[in-house]
């Protein structure tokens, strides 16, 4: 597709269940980011992948959160044993190349609701 694609667009899950959120970046983009946006809050950095380098996981809030990027393309963010405070919009972005001056393109996000 032309843009960053995220699925599902909405996810309602019960507390304690695991969820997987998917991100398809723009073809050819080597950098991929995950952010979390809570109501009334800004964007909270979660994790960053760049090419074949080790990911920057410094933003993951707990060990219940993990992410993978297979084949340098699609990424999956997994949240284990979900809690109500995990409810938020999870945004994925990708950018071209390794230059720090390249802008990131965002997907529409996955709205996660933990009940």
């Amino acid at each position: 597709g032309a843009g960053v694609s995220q699925s599902p667009s909405n996810k309602v899950t019960e507390k304690g269940k695991d969820v997987e959120l998917r991100c398809d970046p723009i073809s050819g983009h080597t950098a991929l980011y995950w952010y979390r946006q809570s109501l009334g809050q800004g964007l909270e950095f979660l994790i960053y992948f760049q090419g074949n380098s080790a990911p920057d996981k410094s933003g993951l809030p707990s060990d219940r959160f993990s992410a993978e990027r297979t084949g340098g393309s699609v990424s999956t963010l997994t949240i284990q044993r979900t809690q109500q405070e995990d409810s938020a919009v999870y945004l994925c972005a990708s950018s071209l190349g390794a230059g720090a001056n390249t802008e990131a393109f965002f997907g529409q996000g996955t709205r996660l609701t933990v009940v």
Binding site: L43, Y48, G59, S95, A98, A100, N101, A104, F106
Partner: protein
């Protein structure tokens, strides 16, 4: 700690008047600076960026931003606001690292712009 501050949670402007959305940053060195806009129920869209050179950067939809190194600011501006500009605006910085390789984008908390007819 590296951070971005958007001191105003909300900015209210009458249509046709100039608007300014403020952003200041605390990052070592000279970072790359970005503005994004988020319309209701939409993803973030890139507006403009400052890399180097002219301190006044022009972007999409008639927006521009002025980089001020001494004040570590990157305020977003538009000479004449439109009702359709009403949205959430985010300032972001990416610190330059060795070799210019990418790192994390650090975002401000966002400023809600409301333009009234």
């Amino acid at each position: 700690a590296q951070s971005v501050a958007q001191p105003e949670d909300q900015v209210n402007v009458a249509e046709g008047n100039p608007l300014t959305v403020k952003c200041t940053y605390s990052v070592s060195g000279n970072p790359y600076l970005f503005w994004y806009v988020q319309y209701p129920n939409r993803g973030l869209q890139f507006l403009l960026k400052y890399i180097t050179g002219d301190n006044l950067v022009k972007g999409s939809y008639g927006f521009e931003a002025e980089f001020n190194k001494s004040q570590t600011s990157f305020h977003l501006k538009k000479p004449s606001a439109l009702v359709s500009d009403s949205a959430l605006y985010f300032c972001a910085v990416r610190p330059k690292s060795y070799g210019g390789s990418q790192g994390n984008l650090i975002f401000g908390k966002g400023t809600k712009l409301s333009v009234k007819p």
